[in-house]
Amino acid sequence: MSEATGPSGPSGPGFDNERVMAEIRDEVARRRAAGDFPPSLERELDLVFDRYVPAGSVSSDFTEAVKAADRAAYINVAVPTESQKPGVGEVKRVLRKAMAWYLNYLAQQTTAFATASVRAMRSLGERLEMVEEQLADLAPARDDAADRPAVAADLGGWVSLCIRHLPTRGRVLHAECGSGALLRSLVDAGVDAYGVEPRGPLVDAAAAGGLEAWPDDPVEHLSAVADGYLAGLVLSGCVDRLALPRQRRLIELAAAKLAPGAPLILIATHPDAWSRAVPALEVDLAPGRPLHPTTWAHLLEGARFTDVVAQDGGDTSALSARRPG
């Protein structure tokens, strides 16, 4: 790439963008802590807007997509004729009436085609559902944060491990951060940490405590983070319950989003998770059960993580690793 030949690019700061933005972030944290604008409201705005995205392109829920297609199948020829401009509404009404015979004819055929297509899709969906029911016994339970109790796990035993491994420079993510107890300890220790948590009441509690916590799914959030952006990553909660493909995806994302040499810490809180007394195969082959540390270590090493160390802490366990430099 050659040097720019034209006068493009910054010409020197007229004000300190970083300082102003830091003050704005403080203001946001203060207003959130006061309950003026809880993070869950931002999540709600996202959900409301997503309702207007064309059918089937946001939700992967087949039934909802078919319902949306069904709603859209009817072609309404009663074009709105209101207008703020004088006389235009009358012209539109005349045009609508004059063209009704033609548009009705086309609309009836289009509606018939769309309705038949939706019926065929519905029939296909019913057949797929039967197949899924037969496979259900073989598949682990689907992860749905909203169905889980809004109770944060106690991670207090792992604060010192995290502080020992995590740097004080660069952004560190804790996913899922619950109500923010570990996040608070990290921030107090000088770590530039923020959290994501899919359960609304918990993330609101974390934000109310002045922490930077966002309502988001860990996998989706990590997908949106720039490659190499994170200086450290703590995973808890999600590591216990995600289905195997999503756990593998989590590891792939951790490898991509961590900066070279940055630490990864996995904390398991499920009582069955990392019981060393139970062999790996026995744990990992049971549907819906969390992975054994041996399996996690294998997955991490497969993703080229180094310095993989597992630690047993009684009710909970942790595993630390480092992305290769």
């Binding site: 050659s2 030949t5 006068p7 493009s8 010409s11 963008n17 933005m21 959130r32 807007f49």
Partner: protein
Amino acid sequence: MSAGAVHQVIPSLVRWDAIGNHSLQVQSILRDMGLESEIYVNDVGPEYAGRAHFFDRYRAQTGAWLMYQASTGSRLAAWFAQRPEPKLVNYHNVTPPRFFERWEPRLADEMVDGRHQIAKLAGVVRHGIAVSRYNEQELIDFGYRSTSTSPLLVDMSRFDIASDPTLAGWLDRQRQAGGTGILFHGRISPNKAQHDLVKTLVAYRRLYDPRARLHLTGGTSSGSYRYGLRRFVAAEGLWDGVDLAGPVSSEELAAYFRGTDVYVSLSEHEGFGAPLLEAMFNGLPIIAFASSAVPETVGDAALLLTDKTPGVVAAAIHRVVTDADLRASLVAAGKRRLAELDLSRTRAAMRAELTRVLEAGA
């Protein structure tokens, strides 16, 4: 320099189009250099009917070069690629299809084709001139071996026009009634993220100013996105707060720039971002999400956001509206940035670049 002519090839030359105006400036530069220069198009608006020729009227000419103004997929790209003349590309960016996949799959497919066309041209053009470094990097990623950057040619004197009096009066009455006026100008398009501005308005009204209004000017690139946006506005009960103005004349746009309090861009993809310059020209402070080419276009003349969650943007608007010093700094920085991008300087840069490329390629 042995080139005797450099003719431009542009898919569409229509009024109020930044790329069309840029092409006319390039034509003027080439003619100032003593070269013949005509514009060949696939589509021309009536106001430019005498200034461009349909591409099938092009006749081969000894010593002529061709320069393609690339901003969208077009059948002209294939025609341009097979021409035997030495070739240049002036790249304005083709929007990545991911923004349109959910809303307009057909348009997304066209964008895929458009980007493939630009990539294919890498093998047949001698040099690619991009209007921003961001765009230049895309050319490099497409496989162009020789590239450079020369900014978009924007004639700022076009902004120096009287405001539409009726609209100016309406905006003035709104201002007197209270409530911050927030403006964004750009086509209604998923990559411009007008929906994030609506979310911001919800937050800003709730946190700071219940009478704030959002003005969205510009035509529509995606009908389904516009429809979704309108329904979102209705669902949030914001009919009194969001002005979906649609396409506006230059005079109406001037009224908007002069009758509002802050310009906010949450766009996720801009190849350059010409409306940002118009905001600077009219002394409107800018808050912008730091995406694509936006940071290099605004320089230090905007409060740049790396996070556009509604609460953060709302707080930024509040800060700019209430902090007179910051506002003055942004406006002053805007004037400085405009001076840097003044047409005389950008034309000189483009002329130097064209001279260098033509001499090297001759």
